[in-house]
Symmetry: C2
Subunit: 593 residues, 2 copies
Amino acid sequence: MAELQILNLLLVLIAAWVGGMVAKRVGFPPILGELLIGILLGPALLGILETSEALNTLAEVGILFLMAYIGMEINFKDLGKASWAGLLAAIGGFVVPFALGYYTIIIFDGTQIAALFVGIAVGVTSLATKSRILVDLKLLDTRIAYVLMAGALISDTLALVIFAGIIGFVDVGSVDAAGLTWVAGKAILFFAAATLIGIYGFPLLGKLLSKTKTINRTFHFTIMVIIVLAFSELAEIAGLHGILGAFMAGLFIREGVFSRNVLKDVTIVFHDMSIGFLAPIFFVTAGFHVSLEVFQTDLVLLILIIAGAVIGKIVGTALFYLPSGYGWREGITIGTGMNGRGAVEIIIAGIGLQMGIITTEIFSILVFMAISTTLTVPLFLTWTTNWLRKRGELVKQDTRKGYLILGANPLGLYIAKQLKEHHEVVLIDSNKELIHEANEQGVTAIHGNALKEDTFEMANAIDKNTFIALTGNSEINLLATQLANNSFYIPNKIVLMSPDENAAGVNLLDPMDASSLFANKTDMAPWAYKISANEFKENIETVESDSTTREWVKERGKNKDILPILIVDENGHKRPFHFKDNISANEKVIYLE
Amino acid sequence: MAELQILNLLLVLIAAWVGGMVAKRVGFPPILGELLIGILLGPALLGILETSEALNTLAEVGILFLMAYIGMEINFKDLGKASWAGLLAAIGGFVVPFALGYYTIIIFDGTQIAALFVGIAVGVTSLATKSRILVDLKLLDTRIAYVLMAGALISDTLALVIFAGIIGFVDVGSVDAAGLTWVAGKAILFFAAATLIGIYGFPLLGKLLSKTKTINRTFHFTIMVIIVLAFSELAEIAGLHGILGAFMAGLFIREGVFSRNVLKDVTIVFHDMSIGFLAPIFFVTAGFHVSLEVFQTDLVLLILIIAGAVIGKIVGTALFYLPSGYGWREGITIGTGMNGRGAVEIIIAGIGLQMGIITTEIFSILVFMAISTTLTVPLFLTWTTNWLRKRGELVKQDTRKGYLILGANPLGLYIAKQLKEHHEVVLIDSNKELIHEANEQGVTAIHGNALKEDTFEMANAIDKNTFIALTGNSEINLLATQLANNSFYIPNKIVLMSPDENAAGVNLLDPMDASSLFANKTDMAPWAYKISANEFKENIETVESDSTTREWVKERGKNKDILPILIVDENGHKRPFHFKDNISANEKVIYLE
């Protein structure tokens, strides 16, 4: 096993891990740290690490699975939902920098094919650490986040399709009409075949697999690996690149086709194997191929490419975004958010280098472009969002909207009616009378067993943002929340926990990242009674300084005669009062007495 | 990415998958099918597939992770518990075939080092499809199964330690005292260092990791990969082989050191990545190196090695097993069960071939030895166990013993008292009075919240074989069963499900492979009342022909006035009546009326 050079692999992995971790700590995507540490420790600077055949093999396999994973993460539904605005942003953010990159290379006497490659690389979008930065800047529920996500998805897909279009022509030297048709025909055939197999073949396979009950997770995983490699080979046969096949395979490996549970596990293995092990090898070794001499020999080109990438992306996005009617300021904000380049760009640049389409200099420039554009994102995006925020132009929107509430008892109904003022609310309960009563009072309510997926599907759980479980039975609440979490991925989960000593403890909330409703164990029955008998008082209290729900409850000595139920923000929007929440100064707490 | 030759990798994987699946269907371990299809499609016969640098790299990485996974699956506790009998079987089953293999090679003019290699390969034990065959032959709860498991564990560990002893000397040509000391010293240093790091370093790391809450599964996985590679490198530095390091690392990556939840996920990824993807590449390509010419050129040696392996293993085991006092027949049965050779043998043979220690001929012989010995297992073991069974010498025993019952209500207590006649039974309940009552009546009962791990630990859940949840609240039953399943891996789970339409449905049992108590949704309260008021009749009915619990219940029209609670086998042993069980002719059903 001397060929494997365990030491080399080990060092590359440690480097990747350290680089990725440091980058993540500072708020950047791990890939940035991996590239930088590759440049630092590789031949370009310290020369401690070097590439090898074995590393290349692992990196290439890693990239295939990473592309498959990226495909798996793209949901057709999301693409379909991607608003007009997202489409505009994606196109503008791609076309303008693409053109700038292309012409820069042409002016600097590069080949047309190299120019096209650089164009794609410059046009690509990567959301820097996706949700992380959006969370940090408290953007997750804004329209910006929504457009950014959609824009990046479309942009990735667009870039890969154009990449497919170009790569087919690489081997064809002088192009005549027949040759062109042949190349384009093969590519189109590939996409048609892949789509047909994905749409009609996969569901058949899925059905077949679901019938053979003895078959386990590993078996499914092996099949997925084979599918990904088969699609890659199909792409190669069509004269395209394997990563396109892997990406297409990933697009079609999705829920509804294969069983939800199996898919979840398989996705974990794909994710960890590629992102946690193989793909970082690619990004670190990509750093090995970077030449620092470009700072001397090609400084002008380097600056022009980076400038073109940044300006092209931001201005292009803002320009094309105008027809959305959301204003040029929001367009610029979107542009700064989409300015990062990441995995897909480095993969495309790496393939270009490997195929001899671009030189080491151009490759190095593209790597530095990725690094510098990604570095701009947190900085620029903080500026632009603060700017929007100060002008009051930060519009809220969320792909998942509204509340799904389990428990149509008087307390649940009371909360539902208040949340309904600004949000979509659906109640579910197994008690027909309560459902009837809720519908009477104008609240959408659905009758069904809360521990069955059917009921959740009827209530459109997959589109809901928050799940509240407030039956009097903590265990039912917990089991239902597990379903909401595991099968419907509802991001926010709030659970009413009973104070009964023998009941389930709050320790069961942690694995689901759920929060405790009312920030305190609470007995539902007495409050439900008080509400139905109208024997309560609703108080509103304005909070004077920033605080947490925990402190609010603590200050009142966990008084059982007080029940904090909602927080009202400065715009009058209400949200439920629960354990994992902060209360800002001037927000109000509604509590019952 | 032309170097990767996706097509070749794809074909090898498909071959591995088909071979493995067919072998599994027919009741053999997948590795058998992988080896055979490698021989069939590789250069030896059809010549369709061939090896490549890339395949070798992936295979070698796969073997490292497979060894780490094998190590992870070995539990120190299990090794410690491994009975005197298991140790005897392991030693006898290793030493005798080792000696036969060694002297056969020496007689045939092989080098001493080659003879040692063959000795280990012949001595190794692999349980053919481990639990599968034990399930098929209904052996899971017998002493044989217990000894087999322990024997295979010890044998694997023994083989790897001896392998380490030998491999250190490979590079040392002529051995003088100083050289010997140096080689042995390095090996001992490695084991000491690895053990120290494992025992003292890992828990520190585990603590550190558990403190940094933001850190996720993938992060842990990457760290585990790095640890495995680091141990491999350490082994290589000590002049040993990387697989030893990976195995040692796996031994120390275990519960108590790292968080249970994280470890579970990480183990899944290790398992699927190695067994579902990379390791099969190794076994298929191992088949590529087999030469069929040995059937002409070395037929005598081939026959001698296989005969020595089979006879040595069975006779050796039986001989050394005598001091256990369990009789020579059981010894021979154990021997036939341990006669398979699998992953570890092929890996060792592959390393020998790669290092030039053994020739292609010897390698081929070892592969055929693995195939033929593994083929004997189901056949021989069926014979020997039937033989024991007919003589009434099939002794029951299980590593996990007894029942853990949640719910000390009258019904639970009633069942506990009956099961207690032949089994260990522990009751848990959160009601102190019920606990007191149970203890009064001579049943071990523990007070605590059934949804907390502490309570389960107090009740020694990790050693229990069956968990029964029969509180009146289905949801508590389900949550507790989840805990029993996910954190304490209790193999059999039986849950009382309430007939209440709004309660949790039986669909929630499937993911845990749990069964429904009484084979029917049942309301606990009325029966508990009847028992405590002594207003019931206990009937016993002998079943006339083989049937299932489902049919038993069905035949009585799901009569709510009858409650089948226990099945009594011919030896008078009782077991709870639940959905997933068969009733044999002449077994009795105890039911309440």
